[in-house]
Amino acid sequence: MSELVLEIQDLHARVDAKPILRGVDLVIRAGEVHAVMGPNGSGKSTLANVLAGREGYEVTRGSVRFRGKDLLALTPEERARAGVFLAFQYPVEIPGVGNSYFMKASLNAVRTSRGQPPLDAIDFLALVKEKAKQLEMDQAFLNRSVNEGFSGGEKKRNEILQMSLLEPTLAVLDETDSGLDIDALRVVANGVNRLRSPERSVLAITHYQRLLEYLVPDHTHVLIGGRIAKSGDRSLALELEKRGYAWVEAEAG
């Protein structure tokens, strides 16, 4: 069996004193793609934000280990440097911060922490242009402020661009497919597929199964009421698409 990348055990978390996650168990090994599906309010985004270390998401019980280490003890930047990447559901607009400047600072922060030399401006530019081209992104987006005035699809591409630069060990995609038309969905999914390797893992959180037509998961989980109610393979996603979530809820009691 390949290396354990993520081990979530009995994870409970609350937001504004309201319990959202109520005992999540999930194990992801190197090279695997896991899809987490579930109805609105089931805790999907909370799970993503807890993994990334967002303020306001309070873990009340359980543990999360990333490559054997306590992930919850790390700051958001330490998680990023260790190889966890969250593709945001709503990427933040940051006026006044150049997209290219930001991505270079980010990549070099991660590289430095890994003992690699920082890239200079010329090498970085060559790299980012190549990655942007793969994502069919206009280079003009590199010179604009981070996400400012980007359309929904452009923001998501920009997330995947950052992911492809940082080459994380674990990529968490928080509804990356929402708001994308079918062409953009294909480009974004291909960007993620390009990153797939025996060393990398993906946790794709989604409301719809259409992303999974392009990004084929090894495992599918259904999150209901803050717990994984059912796990299966790719066919589970198709079944959910056809039958909805009510039968899983009924099965889970």
Partner: protein, 393 residues
Amino acid sequence: MSTSAAEAAFRKALEAPRPAEPARVETLRAEARQAFLAQGLPTTRHEDWRFTPLAKLDKIELGSPELVVTLPKNLPAGCTIAPLPSDSERSSLGVCGDPKRRPFEALNMALFDRGWQISIAPGTKLEQPIELWFDPRHGASHVRVVVEAGAGSRAVIVERHAGSGHAALINAVTELCVRRDAELSHVLVQELPESSLGFLTVLARQDAGSRLALHSIALGAALARVEVEARLEGEDASAELDGLYLGRGTQHQDHHTTIDHAMPRTRSRELFKGILDGRAHGVFHGRIHVRPDAQKIDAAQTNRALLLADGAVVDSKPQLEIYADDVKCSHGASVGQLDSDALFYLRSRGLGEPEARALLTSAFASEVLEKLPASELRAHIEKDLLGWLGGAR
């Protein structure tokens, strides 16, 4: 020394005998002396000084002034610098301003012993900025600059106040006479030591079709008051004022602006941004005055402040006095903290918290810095800003 002691010191300086000067100058000095004696130093009971107490005057030894001035070495063709006061017919000294309303302007006119008039010949377009550097080292220095920007000329003046670490006071008044269709950019850079005080006044009179851009960058001083008055006295004249003020520790940064729309179809824009840390105090008072019959006015004013610490304070006071009816006038003010979503976004990409905060803070400032006319100067100020951000915590 309390402020009353400071006032006594100024009064004493006003009584000291002066060498004989040209009649016109002596008249200006006498009027200014009377104006100061009549009003004295302002207190916070004075509406224009409500948010700026002058208690920090007691930290400064006001006697034995020492001021190092660096003037531009090579003047381009069409540009001259002549010392003030002068009895020359062409001197524009005292053309702008009103000492009765501004005690430090009055003190300056009565007491300045160093000054220069920069004249730009009509039609001259200068490529390089003209830079003046004032380094007050001790005591209270009063210095005056008059800029005579001839019709159709174009120039950038950089007035820099930066010192080498002594507690001193500088009271500088700059008069800008912007003639018909001239384009003048004035950059006021205040990087005084954090033990010093700065009273920096810029008074502009603009003829028809002229354009003034005033950029104020205030980083230093224990207390600094930048006072700007732009009088739009010709049709189609426009004034654009912007500023960036930074404060940390117990620094006090005050900007007090007045735009006088005296003629129809004049336009003004103001954008001021403050970044305040520690227990710093920022003040922005923006007065827009539209005179009767000055129709088709277009004026907009914005002041935004970023507070990096709980103890930092900003007072923002727009003051619109509109006596014409066909005008477009807007103002807006906001005070806030760094956006926590943006902070998390940057950190989730591996940037450390201090680095992420510095990046967002300089992004807030960039809107003002982008307006600076000289790229070399902008790079210099950006570097100073990053240094400031590194030391702000």
